[in-house]
């Protein structure tokens, strides 16, 4: 053991198998040094909220690529049928408990970018982009939201705020309509 190695009993202290009081007097200073080391451990939580929608968006893109290869002719026909239909943001999988998986869907011909902003993401238009579904005009995003009532709107090309065409809406008090989703 060199002077730079902790004494075996101090290692037991670090492992939580001994307390400082268990150490002989000559090891107390070394024990305190070891405990200072542990006190510096950063146990702060890490939050990566955007991971959920980014994972689901990647899975959606992969699925679309696979479908495009397998079902290109059928998809083309389906896209043509959907062009003028706004589909409501509807829960697609109600989970027991307080969280519900929701898929937001908007058909937006000509859009380059679509996101959803609402009470669940601080009305941040950059927080939750929708992903283009295949090569068509349908945009989708899957989120996990707590049960309860949420208000939201779609943001097209970062500029146009539009309510969900088929969901109920309320006046936001500033002349804009917010869609309402109750889970």
């Amino acid at each position: 053991m060199t002077e730079r190695e902790f004494h075996p009993q101090v290692k037991q202290l670090l492992d939580g198998e001994l307390t400082l009081a268990d150490l002989p007097a000559e090891l107390r200073d070394e024990g305190e040094e070891a405990l200072r080391l542990l006190a510096a451990v950063d146990r702060e939580p890490v939050s990566v909220p955007s991971v959920t929608w980014r994972v689901m968006a990647r899975l959606e893109r992969k699925r679309q690529r696979r479908l495009a290869w397998l079902l290109a002719p059928a998809l083309a026909a389906a896209a043509a049928l959907l062009v003028w239909l706004g589909r409501p943001a509807s829960p697609v999988a109600s989970a027991p408990g307080s969280m519900v998986t929701v898929r937001f869907v908007l058909v937006a011909p000509g859009a380059h970018q679509v996101s959803v902003a609402g009470t669940f993401n601080g009305w941040d238009p950059a927080a939750t982009p929708l992903v283009r579904s295949g090569s068509g005009d349908m945009w989708v995003a899957t989120l996990v939201l707590p049960s309860g009532q949420h208000q939201y709107a779609f943001v097209v090309d970062r500029a146009r705020w539009i309510p969900d065409p088929t969901a109920p809406a309320v006046d936001d008090g500033f002349g804009r309509r917010n869609s309402v989703l109750t889970l």
Partner: protein, 182 residues
């Protein structure tokens, strides 16, 4: 790093996803992303790198979900995928320590503990990045995630004595690094 008991169980979600209800997978991501992001951020020295690693691991886990032999143990299986991703990342690059560890200390805590405490955290994180990935991992699982040696051994499919040997080397190297730093 324990299973969330609210809502459907991991096993129920995995079975639902495998049966075609793929949107349910978001529940698993939501449930585990933050706690495993902490593991990854301490392993990789950066929250950004951890964010990417956790994303990749969840996508890979989804692709291989049919190979999850015991759906109830999804999280242990997922952890091994994330672990492989973190180790692969380490092999690819010399880890660059960010100063995030100090920067992330909340302001309120800074006023209590002072800049010295933040500096000690930063120095320890820097020293952790000088360990081997295996040594760092056992330190992170025990002292950041709060797992016992027995729990770590089960998770990594190894023995407690070998983990202790790894950890005790880590203690010595950390001491050396921190003394050099001081």
């Amino acid at each position: 790093m324990h299973a969330d008991t609210q809502g459907p169980s991991d096993g129920e979600i995995v079975r639902a996803v495998l049966a075609g209800d793929r949107d349910r997978y978001a529940l698993l991501v939501e449930r585990y992303r933050d706690r495993y992001a902490r593991y990854a951020s301490r392993m990789l020295g950066s929250t950004d790198a951890a964010d990417d690693a956790v994303q990749d691991a969840f996508v890979r886990a989804y692709d291989q979900l049919a190979q999850c032999q015991d759906p109830a143990k999804f999280v242990g299986w997922f952890f091994l995928i994330l672990r492989n991703r973190c180790f692969a990342e380490q092999r690819k690059r010399r880890p660059h320590l960010s100063l995030e560890a100090a920067a992330r200390v909340p302001a309120g805590q800074r006023s209590d503990d002072g800049a010295e405490s933040a500096e000690r955290r930063r120095a320890l994180q820097q020293a952790l990045m000088e360990l081997t990935a295996e040594q760092r991992e056992v330190f992170v699982l025990k002292h950041v995630e709060g797992l016992s040696y027995t729990e770590i051994a089960e998770r990594l499919n190894t023995s407690v004595p070998s983990l202790k040997m790894r950890m005790h080397r880590a203690y010595d190297r950390l001491r050396e690094q921190l003394r050099d730093h001081a």
